[in-house]
């Protein structure tokens, strides 16, 4: 039942003589999550942009349902049932959720050709309910959290009746709870027979959600297979081209005195109760998702604007 909906063969893409993709093969099957894996710059996004009609391949062919096709523009690709949730922001912040979903294919009254906001609102509500989202269709997108924006993008893909949904690093800005929720949605889409292309460089995610994988490295096709038949180490080796031990040689560092102490650092609505010590001679890492507030903490420490809480001690 899982038939091959898209086959990409020998895809090449040169940008002014620079090879971004060099003979990549890629297959997508219905009712399956296909992971596209590779480091930054491996060519994942380029491949997706070819599939969505944003870029034209220099060479190679795309076969959709056993018929060779060309996607000269994003609309053609969309009409063929391919929808992408892009890595970069592709929303209209000043417009409503409803309008973000229907931009480019607003619903019109059959009688007078004018837009039917009522019908669009109903359809938006149905889509949001399907995704179990508690958002009002009239909410402006700029007032949504990043996770909610992702969900609206998925709702948009569904509104286009997409058969293939491409998710380009969908989890990079989500909290763990939100990622769980996203998985739930993905499984639901899968059970409805949609094909999902899941792009990530986080292996846990791939093993959690994907059924099949394809690895790219430096624009080249490295290999593919079933997730069930492979180990993490093997995939890592395919992705980076060598074993992991060579990547991070351990170095000893000496920790000195505290030179910066931050306590209960808060900026309302942005971050709260941040405390840390910075020692001489150490590299202090800050982890978190996009939007977690890492950059904001640093910027605020530098600028010291509009914060409440105790001042940092300097020595």
């Amino acid at each position: 039942m899982n038939n091959c909906i898209i086959k990409m063969k020998g895809i090449k893409k040169y940008f002014y003589g620079v090879k971004a993709l060099d003979g990549v093969d890629f297959k997508v099957r219905t009712g399956e999550v296909q992971a596209l894996i590779g480091e930054n710059g491996a060519g994942k996004s380029t491949l997706v942009k070819i599939l969505t009609g944003v870029y034209q391949p220099t060479a190679g062919s795309i076969i959709l349902n056993d018929k060779p096709v060309q996607f000269p523009s994003p609309q053609v690709s969309q009409k063929a049932g391919i929808s992408a949730i892009h890595q970069e922001a592709t929303m209209f912040p000043d417009l409503s959720v409803m309008e973000n979903i229907f931009m480019g294919h607003h619903i019109r009254n059959k009688s007078n050709g004018l837009l039917s906001w009522k019908e669009m609102k109903n359809k938006t509500q149905i889509l949001l309910d399907k995704l179990e989202l508690d958002i009002h269709p009239d909410t402006k997108v700029k007032n949504l959290s990043i996770a909610q924006r992702h969900m609206v993008e998925i709702a948009k893909a569904l509104s286009l009746d997409a058969k293939v949904v491409i998710m380009d690093e969908p989890t990079s800005a989500l909290t763990l709870k939100e990622v769980e929720y996203l998985y739930k949605i993905i499984r639901k889409l899968k059970s409805e027979g949609k094909a999902i292309i899941f792009i990530s460089h986080k292996f846990e995610e791939v093993f959690e959600i994907a059924d099949y994988f394809t690895v790219l490295r430096d624009g080249k096709y490295i290999g593919e297979g079933k997730i069930a038949d492979i180990t993490v180490d093997k995939i890592v080796q395919m992705v980076i081209g060598r074993s992991l031990e060579q990547m991070y040689p351990k170095l000893e560092a000496e920790q000195g005195d505290i030179i910066l102490k931050v306590e209960n650092f808060t900026k309302i609505g942005v971050f709260k109760n941040i405390s840390f010590d910075l020692h001489k001679g150490e590299i202090l890492g800050f982890f978190g998702l996009v939007g977690a507030g890492r950059s904001e903490v640093m910027q605020t420490i530098f600028v010291w604007l509009g914060t409440v809480g105790r001042k940092p001690l300097r020595r």
Binding site: P74, T90, M103, G104, H106, G269
Partner: protein, 326 residues
């Protein structure tokens, strides 16, 4: 109801009421119906052209040439009337609109096809169109007695105490309310201004939209050109100098984002009305004409500050609400 208070248009409306009460307290005659009819007449043309400007600003552009296009189409209409008095008035109106459309489409082509930034394009055409007015009239006037009666009286004809000038502007407001809110192209104007990359992904033709907004703005300006010279019963080479800045001010006061993506017709019409009221009020309370311009400027900036402060406060409220929910 809560949403109503968050709207910038509503803030502006309150501000307008505030001014009306303030002024009428000092000068009761400000509240006379006749005075409001005057203000409506004075702001009719500004509202129309500001709607054209609105569409361009929403796409992220700006049109500095509206004053010159208005003068050029108005002068053409006046000269046509002077030398061929037999031409029926509706033909003159159509020709005036056609000239405006042509001038606007030149801007549109330069912006969309030659990819010259709108501010540069229209800075250039502002001088070109103004120069053409001089060439056309040779530096002379077309004054009232050289125009036909029908031509001069067109904007003044009134029905139920309201002039046809105001009716025409109401018609334009309704037409563009429909265009911007109930057609795909209208919504795509907001899409382009909100996020150019995203609008390409959903298949909006950026060049087409840019061309359309400049051309439509030109068309409105052409119509306004005829109304202007007919209303003031004079066409001269200095007609509507600096008018482009008034249309931009009306937009900004009306809450149109100068970086594109948002702005409503109701806001712009209120913005134009606000400017009309301020101008009228300053005259009514006998502020010296030397001071009027400066005070107008202050009030415009004050209105915008109030607008942005309210906006920022709402944004903060949203953030706070979200951080407490988490």
């Amino acid at each position: 109801m809560k949403d109503l208070f968050r709207k910038r248009e509503f803030n502006l409306f309150i501000f307008i009421l505030f001014i009306i009460f303030g002024v009428s307290w000092r000068t009761p005659s400000f509240l006379y119906i006749n005075n409001f009819v005057d203000i409506l007449n004075d702001t009719a043309i500004l509202s129309m052209v500001a709607i054209g400007q609105l569409m361009i600003i929403v796409t992220g552009g700006i049109d500095l040439s509206v004053g010159s296009s208005l003068a050029l189409s108005g002068m053409s209409a006046a000269l046509l009337n002077q030398y061929h008095p037999g031409i029926p008035i509706f033909m003159i109106i159509l020709i005036s609109i056609a000239i405006g459309l042509l001038l606007g489409s030149v801007n549109g082509l330069l912006v969309s096809q030659a990819k010259i930034p709108p501010i540069i394009t229209t800075l250039g055409t502002m001088s070109i169109y103004r120069g053409l007015v001089f060439v056309l009239c040779g530096g002379t006037w077309v004054s009232a007695h050289e125009m036909t009666e029908v031509f001069r009286m067109f904007p003044r004809k009134s029905f139920l105490g309201i002039s046809s000038l105001v009716y025409v502007s109401i018609l334009i407001v309704i037409l563009f309310l429909i265009f911007l809110n109930l057609t795909r192209t209208g919504r795509e104007i907001y899409g382009v201004g909100g996020n150019k990359v995203a609008s390409q992904y959903v298949g909006i033709n950026l060049k087409k939209i840019q061309y359309i907004v400049f051309t439509l703005c030109g068309g409105i300006t052409g119509l306004a050109g005829f109304l202007w010279v007919a209303r003031y019963a004079a066409a001269q080479s200095e007609t509507a100098i600096g008018f482009e800045l008034q249309t931009i001010a009306a937009c900004v006061i009306g809450g149109v984002s100068i970086t594109g993506g948002s702005g409503t017709i109701i806001g712009v019409v209120l913005g134009a009305f606000f400017m009309g009221i301020v101008y009228n009020a300053l005259t009514m309370i006998n502020v010296s004409p030397f001071w009027q311009m400066a005070i107008q400027g202050f009030i415009i900036i004050f209105a915008i500050i109030i607008n942005t402060v309210m906006d920022k406060r709402n944004q903060q409220l949203m953030l706070r609400k979200r951080s407490f929910n988490e």
